[in-house]
């Protein structure tokens, strides 16, 4: 790739190619089978070209081009720097693999009407996400941002004949539009301070303190809504649960990252941001992490559980960004490097294991037709390959050593531990953030043990689960790639080192002098060594056991000698997480429908627990209901008789004359 062709141009061509990937499918409707392969091929081609562009950028360095396109206002400027390159990797990978998975999961034969449309919006969404990351002008950014939001809306509302899908796509649309309006305000303020619409400037001073606070608040709200941090996550569970699985994979694997990308850019606006900026992000991250994983623990729907775990992971990423901002405020280069690198590595990791888990959920949904964990069970035996992928994904998402989740959290821990020794001020947040992160890790273990134990192990609790079987090869191929990525990044985290260092340099060019580079700060070598040593020791013990070759005779589960155990006697997800849900009941407010048994021979009774979404069901919806009633009363203005309307005109004239003297 000659250096003459600027990497940005390659990226734009790649984006265009992916954008058009869905179009042939729509045009040749009569040949349903033809649309999918062309879409997947074009998507793959675009991703390959995009990755090549990144390689060219790795060698060539940052580049920026201004298209001669006369927007009504502002200019169409695209640029590629370290940070954008890092966020492009997940967009390209997950989109191509998701499209391959979708070829048979949502094939033209089963869904003739919605499949072509889904592919069209899939291509448009990926292309607009690339444009969001590349945009260097407020107008072009907002156009790409809203195109992404609308494409995601149409993807979520693929099966819009079901009321639940309509409801969750509507909540998503309102949330994303609120975010866009916040960004509108933020960029308008930025234009006011900076004079032009150029994006991600390094403001010498953020105008008056009040204005820079407003820019930060609007930016965090706007991008936080898209990233799904805690109080702003209301749209996330519904959207992920009701979208087709490979769409949920794209949403949580990549769409949330555009929100994170925005957060990182907003924090990078001021050279010396106030300390409380970082503090706020750390707090938001910790709350999102803790409440996110506890809500995940309490879910009974597999995809909602994964959605809430995305909230938790975005919380961890936000803690990293918060730590980096604290580092910038204190001038501590090592905190900046560790915080941001930790966050960005977690972005890469999350965009590998979360789509993997969603594709696992897709396999389960495809095979059993239900998302309710309590009616699954025994899938480990009926779907062995999917189970292996699930275990890899679960170990990775809990941050357990051999796999990639660990490296990301390791960086964050290192940064936070260093921050605890910052004497003047930094110790409080860091001191409290470390145990919060630890608890999040442990709760993640609890959550995913629950899924593996209830959904996959034991015996099938319903006939659907009993007749499940592994899907075909084309659905497993992308999962192999994602799992491979998890293992590779786990054992050799230094592979992502160059990408991370360029991103940190792009974010904070004038990093405090004398800051040790990332490689010196973190012993990547040791992490790889310990990973290999771990695998070696497991292999050793296993061979010891196998050498011993104990004859294992099969029998039913002893279960303390219970005569006739039935599958229904197994532990169910709500009972599994009851202790922890009880512990966090002050936040979860779980509802319990338990029957009162009356009379000597109680009749058939039904017991159920339900955990509402704390923010959505208990705060946002009641508030909107009250506003609705208030508006209804105000509508008495238009009661019907024409004299009242003429009276309004007369009153208008008189009042204005009196007031506006």
């Amino acid at each position: 790739m000659s250096a003459s062709v600027s990497p940005v141009a390659i990226e734009i061509l790649a984006a265009a190619c992916i954008a058009l990937s869905g179009v042939p499918g729509c045009l040749l409707r009569r040949v349903p089978a033809a649309g999918q392969p062309t879409a997947t091929a074009l998507n793959g081609l675009g991703s390959a070209a995009g990755l090549l562009g990144l390689v060219a950028h790795a060698r060539g360095g940052d580049a920026e081009i201004v298209l001669p396109w006369a927007l009504p206002v502002g200019r169409v400027a695209f640029g590629l720097d370290g940070l954008a390159a890092l966020f492009l990797v997940p967009i390209l990978l997950v989109s191509a693999l998701g499209s391959l998975y979708g070829a048979s999961y949502w094939s033209g034969r089963d869904h003739p009407e919605s499949a072509p449309r889904l592919r069209l919006w899939w291509g448009l969404m990926t292309a607009s996400m690339m444009a969001v990351v590349l945009a260097r002008d407020a107008i072009a950014f907002l156009m790409a941002w809203e195109a992404m939001a609308l494409a995601a809306f149409f993807l979520i509302a693929t099966e819009d004949d079901q009321p639940e899908v309509r409801r969750s796509s509507w909540i998503y649309l309102v949330a994303t539009h609120t975010g866009t309006l916040c960004l509108l305000g933020c960029f308008a303020l930025l234009a006011h301070v900076q004079g032009s619409f150029a994006l991600w400037p390094r403001l010498a001073s953020g105008g008056s303190a009040w204005i820079s606070t407003a820019i930060f608040a609007l930016g965090v709200t706007g991008f936080g809504l898209k990233a799904g941090v805690m109080p702003l996550h209301v749209w996330l569970p519904g959207a992920h649960a009701n979208a087709p699985s490979h769409v949920s994979a794209l949403l949580s694997g990549v769409l949330l990252k555009t929100g994170v990308y925005g957060l990182v850019r907003v924090c990078g606006l001021l050279p010396d941001p106030p300390l409380w900026w970082g503090g706020v992000l750390l707090a938001i991250g910790a709350v999102s992490g803790l409440l996110g994983i506890t809500l995940a623990l309490a879910q009974q729907d597999l995809k909602r559980l994964l959605a809430y775990s995305s909230v938790e992971n975005v919380g961890i990423i936000a803690m990293g960004v918060g730590l980096a901002t604290v580092g910038r405020a204190l001038g501590r280069g090592d905190l900046v490097v560790l915080g941001l690198a930790g966050a960005l590595l977690h972005v890469l990791n999350h965009s590998l294991f979360k789509p993997l888990l969603f594709l696992v959920a897709g396999n389960v949904l495809h095979a059993t037709g239900t998302r309710r964990i309590a009616s699954l069970g025994g899938l480990a035996r009926t779907m062995p390959r999917t189970f292996v992928f699930f275990v890899i994904g679960a170990v990775a998402i809990c941050g357990l050593p051999p796999l990639n989740g660990f490296a990301g959290e390791f960086l964050l821990y290192a940064g936070l531990l260093r921050a605890t020794r910052v004497d003047p001020v930094g110790w409080v947040w860091a001191g409290l953030a470390v145990p919060a992160l630890a608890m999040v890790g442990a709760l993640a273990v609890a959550g995913f043990v629950k899924v593996s134990g209830i959904a996959f192990s034991g015996s099938a609790r319903s006939s659907d689960a009993a007749h499940a079987h592994d899907p075909g090869g084309s659905m497993l191929a992308p999962m192999v790639a994602l799992a491979g990525g998890c293992v590779l990044l786990g054992l050799v985290p230094s592979a992502a080192l160059p990408l991370l260092e360029r991103a940190v340099a792009a974010w904070d060019p004038e990093i405090a002098a004398g800051t040790p580079s990332l490689a010196q700060l973190v012993p990547f070598g040791w992490i790889s060594a310990m990973g290999l040593l771990g695998i070696a020791s497991v292999a050793g013990v296993a061979t010891l056991l196998a050498w011993r070759r104990p004859e294992s005779s099969a029998a039913g589960t002893w279960d303390c000698g219970y005569a006739r155990p039935t599958p229904r006697m197994q532990y169910v997800d709500s009972s599994f997480s009851e202790t922890l849900v009880g512990l966090f009941d002050w936040a979860l407010r779980s509802r319990r429908a338990s029957p009162e048994l009356r009379g000597p021979f109680p009749s058939r009774a039904h017991f159920a627990t339900r955990v509402p979404d704390a923010i959505l069901d208990l705060a946002v919806l009641p508030l909107l209901g009250a506003a609705d009633r208030g508006f209804a009363r105000a509508r008495a203005l238009q009661r019907g008789p024409v004299h009242r309307y003429v009276l309004y005109i007369g009153l208008a004239v008189m009042l204005v004359l009196l007031v506006a003297r």
């Binding site: 069970g377 480990a380 035996r381 275990v391 679960a394 170990v395 809990c398 941050g399 357990l400 050593p401 660990f406 821990y413 531990l417 605890t420 020794r421 110790w427 001191g431 470390v434 145990p435 630890a438 608890m439 890790g441 442990a442 273990v445 609890a446 043990v449 629950k450 593996s452 134990g453 192990s457 034991g458 015996s459 973190v522 040791w526 310990m530 040593l533 771990g534 497991v538 050793g540 013990v541 056991l545 011993r548 104990p550 294992s552 005779s553 099969a554 029998a555 589960t557 002893w558 279960d559 303390c560 155990p565 599958p567 197994q570 532990y571 009972s575 599994f576 202790t579 922890l580 512990l583």
Partner: protein
Amino acid sequence: MTGTLNLLAHVALLLVLPPLLLGVINKTKAWFAGRRGPPLLQLYYDLVRLFRKDMVVSTTTTWVFRAGPVIGVSAVFLAGLLVPFGPFDAPIAFPGDLVLFAYLLGLARFFTASAALDTGSAFEGMGAAREVSFASLAEVALFMAFVVLVRLSGALSLSPMLHAPIAGIAGGLPAAALLLVAVALFVVLLAENARIPIDDPNTHLELTMIHEVMVLDHSGPLFGLVLYGAAVKLFVLAALLLHLVLPVALGNPLLDWALFVAGVLALAVVVGVVESVMARLRLSHVPSLLIAAGVLCAFGFFFTLA
């Protein structure tokens, strides 16, 4: 030369000594109850017996059932390599190894709990649920303790961090902080190893068990691995705690190793005494005990700021 000797001694002790600890604990409890109790080496005999026996595997299980004990033992063994024994440095030490230590324990917990659920029995589900729930609180206390030690020692690796008390931290607040952390770590040790007051290793009523009920269906060599893994975990956590209880270095390596072994056995006696004196807590009170341990560490943390 002495470095490799210490390494060999470290590994040897880690492999051989753990079952002895449980023997000592049972002996102390028996002595308290006025009976002779099982011989000190009883666990070694059990392990040998189990490794020679065949095993019965339930039809509902998959490879996870076998992976549980295997990964459990190797993860805990690796964690042992990170912890310094006595004044000697750990075989593997790098900045941030405390995170790896905690997450290795998490990995062991993940697979043992999954193995328990794999059998599909109600009791094992109950045990797994309690195990992962209480562990999340224990891990908070563990990390809070680490933060206090990091504040005091200024180092990020386990070896220098745990040797700071030996270097004679001046009296006053830091010493108080270390005392609080020691108590908290002792509670964590009891929680992680299913000792009274959190869990009763000798109970036969499945409804009250946590660790024992998770391994109901394991038999033969697999059960042997489970018992061995539990012993190693107890030994590793005891070695960790020893740095705060007995921060003494005599300079002569042989004497130090002997002092270390004596210290660990003494800790086992203390655990035995605690088990004989206290009764098991109600399950709903266990979280408050673990949260209390975390709060102790938090107080310790605030002491370090003075």
